[in-house]
Subunit: 449 residues, 2 copies
Amino acid sequence: MPPVDAERPEATLAAFVADLTYDAVPEAARTTIERAFVDTVGVTLAGSVADAGARAVRFATSLGSGETTVLGTGETASLADAVLANGTAGHALDYDDLSWAMDGHPSVPLVAPALAVGERVDASGRDLVTAFAAGFEAECYVGEPVSPTHYEQGWHPTSTFGTFGATATAASLLDLDEETTARALSIAASMPSGLKRNFGTMTKPLHAGLAGRSGVTAALLARDGFTADEAAISGDGGFWERYAEGAERVADPPGDPWRLVETGISVKAYPCCYFTHTSVALASQLSEDHGLAPETIEHIETTTSRGAGDALVHPDPETGLEAKFSMEYALAAAVVFDRVGLTAFEPAAIEDPEVQHVRERASFAVDDTLAYKSNHARVVVETTDGERYDGTLEEPPGTPANPLSESELEAKFLECATEVLDRPTAEATFADLRALRSCPSVRELLAPL
Amino acid sequence: MPPVDAERPEATLAAFVADLTYDAVPEAARTTIERAFVDTVGVTLAGSVADAGARAVRFATSLGSGETTVLGTGETASLADAVLANGTAGHALDYDDLSWAMDGHPSVPLVAPALAVGERVDASGRDLVTAFAAGFEAECYVGEPVSPTHYEQGWHPTSTFGTFGATATAASLLDLDEETTARALSIAASMPSGLKRNFGTMTKPLHAGLAGRSGVTAALLARDGFTADEAAISGDGGFWERYAEGAERVADPPGDPWRLVETGISVKAYPCCYFTHTSVALASQLSEDHGLAPETIEHIETTTSRGAGDALVHPDPETGLEAKFSMEYALAAAVVFDRVGLTAFEPAAIEDPEVQHVRERASFAVDDTLAYKSNHARVVVETTDGERYDGTLEEPPGTPANPLSESELEAKFLECATEVLDRPTAEATFADLRALRSCPSVRELLAPL
């Protein structure tokens, strides 16, 4: 790996993306990518019939036609329109993965362009793995010098850094050379957008779709000779300066170390805010271990970080979207349901008297001694017959340190995919995606979707 | 007109856009719009075969198919893809109009969405005039509270403010109600982009295409019930805060006063930087008045503003793009050619020995006592036989105070349109567009294009 060219960091990234081969991707990273890929396709399928996703799908399929699969619909659209739809659907349920290596959701801006461009050039599964690796490292490399300032100022990194990731992913699949990849990344520097101000609305998932659409646009235009300034990320008035206060440090080179290995990706076990996950896992465990019936709960309380306190602002949610950002609701769902899955955020669940019974007895405290983003949680349950149970947990399920088991990954995929596919097709698709590196043809992979 | 709601300026704008009718647009504004419309269609036709424009056209027509006309090509594409192509083509030659009311090029982000959405709903010419009026006033209203800071920080207002203009234009043609228009504008707040850092490259005209694509996306998604934060422009972490340092003032309400009437639009007489225009007009006039032959020029000098000094940085240009930003070249072209038009920036003109002879004898000085953006110019010519001629001019041709004559407007249109249309079709199109308010059907208008 060449050292970072502090004079022109764009060139370092372009060389990495253009030169990256499947063989150069570490096995640990490949494994992470395959898991992220299947998980992202799953949540995209489910998201294609959810609020924002369904609307993005209608947008794409109503504007024209094309050869690019719109996941979950049996329809196709123009490549750019399909990428917008698939990217938006992937984030529509907030059930997609995340990584602290780029302060956001890394996979949604990558998978939609990877599948669309991969379908166009009929790439192999290995090409997809390589392109994802290029895109993920690009998101991190562009993001690190301005993080966390960029996020704190109000930008949504899934969309902004994701724009560069999507561009790198598309460039990799189009097999662009270093100079052309550099132009693609500089064209992309004129495209990032996405305000945290729009969190809590359908425009949040749209940000992921916008990133993907921008990435394929930048890569395809660069391939046709489109020009851009060579320092559009790092130069005066470039991305780092305009979307933060300039680079605060020189990032380590992309792939050295591999962010996919060092930091990794956290797969979500539950379709709600990540800050609820440790508490949900603990409450589920206590409920199962002690056979707690909802009506016997006198009080259930969790204590966790300030980050959770800032994000979880709906003690008495009225909608599924609010429920995703309610610790009290999450605790109740954990006690009442076998699994806190998609159905736990549907109207029937929110109105369920048992859930409401427990939610009214749930409370949520912040421990200021914990790190802001810590997911450490403590849960204490008191029952009507005077018993008291408690526990603590450091890591929520799905982190690299506490990954979902193969059966949990499959259960989540099938839960999601069967929103739009019959179960045999969903099971076959899971098997195909889990063997991504052996897949000879993206087109064959997408045919059933 | 309701007073500006300082608590929620978005609502003021949404009400204006949703309620605007053709009858409410002042006659002076309608006239300005009709001239801007024909001029923008002309430069778009010429731009469809220019560097960035041709590439954007290939991008659009290669991704899928649709029912939206890609101007100048006889082809169609998906609505969003076509808007990207038409908007980029419109700005590809930097021959399109500008307005100090929004610190940029107002018409390119509006005309592409207006034609595309107008074609879809088969709007009338009056509907297009109304939608343009809504879009133009929206660009200004969103831009004014953060101008000129926004531009000075490095953003390209044609793209950023243009995103809101495009959204308003599309919303008007889709006949969205006030609440839906407000959501469209707030979705759009998560979309603006475009760095001045990319000026001087093909990505600059792309910015106009991106604005148009964003606008139609926001309006169509809003129509389908997509949600966004209601203060995404004005609230904490909203557009004004993230793309500047927050609003510095409360803008006057849109349409009160009409920016289209108060500030108006400047139509370009020459396909080069506006800061050259007064000098070109003067040099042409002196050359004509005194029958100056190129070989008799001993020295030609112009003196103008610091704004010109900052922009015109290529005394010895090698490409057409550099020549557009060269005062020395512009003076030479003015003396040598009957008209400084598109051909004056082609390789044959740049290599012309007579042009080079004059360019080598041309010089350019800055008068610090002039306002930064002043277009005031003085030109002094000395001939080989010892004669000396000079003149001064305040206003370049094409400004509201010194508008192009009808024949100049037609000559420019025909020069541009005949790049892709035969002359009878170009002449018929000019006539149709000049009678825009009488046009019953956008589809009929676009059929020959």
